[in-house]
Symmetry: D2
Subunit: 143 residues, 4 copies
C-alpha cells in the first residue's frame, strides 16, 4: 500500500500526548509508513495471579497503538480522534514485564482510521498474546 510520508515521529507524538493526557501509561515507541508501535510497563495492579498481564492492560496498549497510528495516517496530532470500536482476541497467556502493540494501517478515510494490531510481551513479537482490529473516528469538519 502506498503511504503518505508523515511528519509524526514518536517523540512528537509522545510530547503532544503528554501535554493533554499526562496520566497515560503508554508511550509511542516507534512509527513508520503505515504503522505505529506502543509500549507499556505494567504496574503490579495490572498483573493477574501468575504474573499475567491483564486483558484490559492489553486493550490499553492496543488502543494506544491505534491512536498513534491515526496521527501518522492523518499526519497531525488530533486529540479528538476517538475509539469507535475495538475487538480483541486473546491468544496466549501474556507473561512478561513489558507489553508492546504494533498497529498496521488498513485504511484512512475522511471519517475513520481502521487498523489491525498485534500485541506481545517482552521480545516475543512472533508469538502474540493477543490480536485486535479497530476503528478510530476522526472529528468531522464543522459544517
Amino acid at each position: 500500500m502506498p503511504y503518505r510520508r508523515s511528519d509524526m515521529d514518536a517523540a512528537t507524538i509522545n510530547a503532544a500526548v503528554r501535554e493533554v493526557f499526562a496520566g497515560d501509561a503508554a508511550r509511542c515507541a516507534e512509527v513508520g509508513p503505515g504503522y505505529a508501535v506502543a509500549h507499556l510497563t505494567p504496574e503490579p495492579a495490572q498483573l493477574r495471579p501468575g504474573g499475567y498481564v491483564s486483558g484490559p492492560t492489553q486493550f490499553a496498549v492496543a488502543d494506544a497503538a491505534l491512536w498513534y497510528l491515526a496521527f501518522v495516517a492523518i499526519d497531525r496530532f488530533e486529540p479528538m480522534a476517538l475509539t469507535a470500536e475495538l475487538s480483541m482476541r486473546f491468544l496466549r497467556p501474556a507473561i512478561g514485564s513489558e507489553v508492546w502493540a504494533k498497529a498496521t494501517l488498513e485504511v484512512c478515510g475522511r471519517r475513520n482510521v481502521v487498523g489491525s494490531v498485534r500485541i506481545w510481551t517482552d521480545d516475543a513479537q512472533d508469538r502474540p498474546c493477543a490480536v485486535a482490529q479497530g476503528t478510530y473516528a476522526l472529528p468531522l469538519p464543522r459544517p
Copy 2:
C-alpha cells in the same frame, strides 16, 4: 430463556475474586438469572482530559461483568475462565464518577460462555456509553 438457578451471589463472587486477585478494582454489584452487573470507581489516572472515563477502563468493567456472568452461568467460581474475545463499541462520552456494566447471557456451552454487555456511568443506564459482546472460554476437563 430458561436459566438455571445459581448459588453464585454477588458477595460469594466478590469474596472468591478477592482471594485470587486482590488487586482487581472492579466488584460484582448484582447477579440474577442470566445476568451480572459489575461496578468500578475510576481512579484519576483512568480519566481522560475533560473527565471522560478511558476506553480501557470501560473495557475492564465490561470484562469483569462477563467474568461474573460466567460464574453465574456455570454456577461455580472458576478463576481459569478466560476472555477469549471481546469487542467494544463506544457510543458516547463516558462522563461520571462511577462506571457500571451489565452482562446478559447469550449462551452457556461446554466450552464457552457468550454474553452481551451494556456499560454506563452514574445513573444513566438508559444512555449507555458503550456496548460490547464477548466470549469467555471455560477450562476443558482433563482428558
Copy 3:
C-alpha cells in the same frame, strides 16, 4: 430508552428496498420503537450439510435487520446507509427453514447507528443460533 416515533413501517421499508435492490432475499417482518426484525427463507444453496443455515446467510439476515433499524432510527429510507462493521458470534447449529434477526438500537448519532442483533430459526427465538453487534454509517451532509 426514549425512542422517537418513526413513520417507517415494514411495508414502507420493503417497498423502498425492492425499488433499489430487487435481488435482496431478506425482507422486513416488523419494526417498532428501537427495533427491527428481518426474515429470510434460505435457498438450498444456503444450507450446509446436515441442513444447517450457513454462516454467511445468518450474517445476511443480521445485516438486513440492522439496515432496517437504521431507517427506523433516522425515520427515513436511506439506501446509502452502509455497514461499517459487524461482528457475529455463532452459538448453536442453525437448523430450520426460516431465519429471523431482531436488531435493537443502542445509539443513533449524527454519523452512525449502532445495534445489537439476535438471530434464530423458525420459532426458537429464545434459543438464538447467533448474536451480533454492528455499526451502520450514515451519509454525511455535503459540506
Copy 4:
C-alpha cells in the same frame, strides 16, 4: 512465526470441500505456510445497486478463507471446524467481478484457530474493500 509444513494444498482442500458441501460457491485459490486464499465469483444476486459486491458475500469469502486456513493449520481436512466468531470491517466499495480473501494465521491452539483476513476485488490486493478477524472452533476429542 514458524509454521508447520502442511500436506493441505488447494486442490486437496477443494476436492474435500466439494465432497461434503457441493453448493459452496467459494474455492481455495492458494495456500502456503500460515495463510490461505479464497476466491469467489459473485452471481448477479450478490451485487448491490451500482455493482457493489454485497457485505454478506464478502463475509462468505472471508469465512471460507479462514476455514481453509484452519485445514492448513491443523494439517487435515476437518469439516466440523466451525466459525465461532468473525468480525468484519468494511473499508471501501467492493467493485469488481472477482472477490478474494487472504487469511493469515494468528494462532492455532487445541481448541481454536484465529486468523486475520484481507478481502479485495479483482487485482486490487493493496486496496482491500474489507478486513476481518475471526475464530474457528476445532472439534474436541471425545472424552
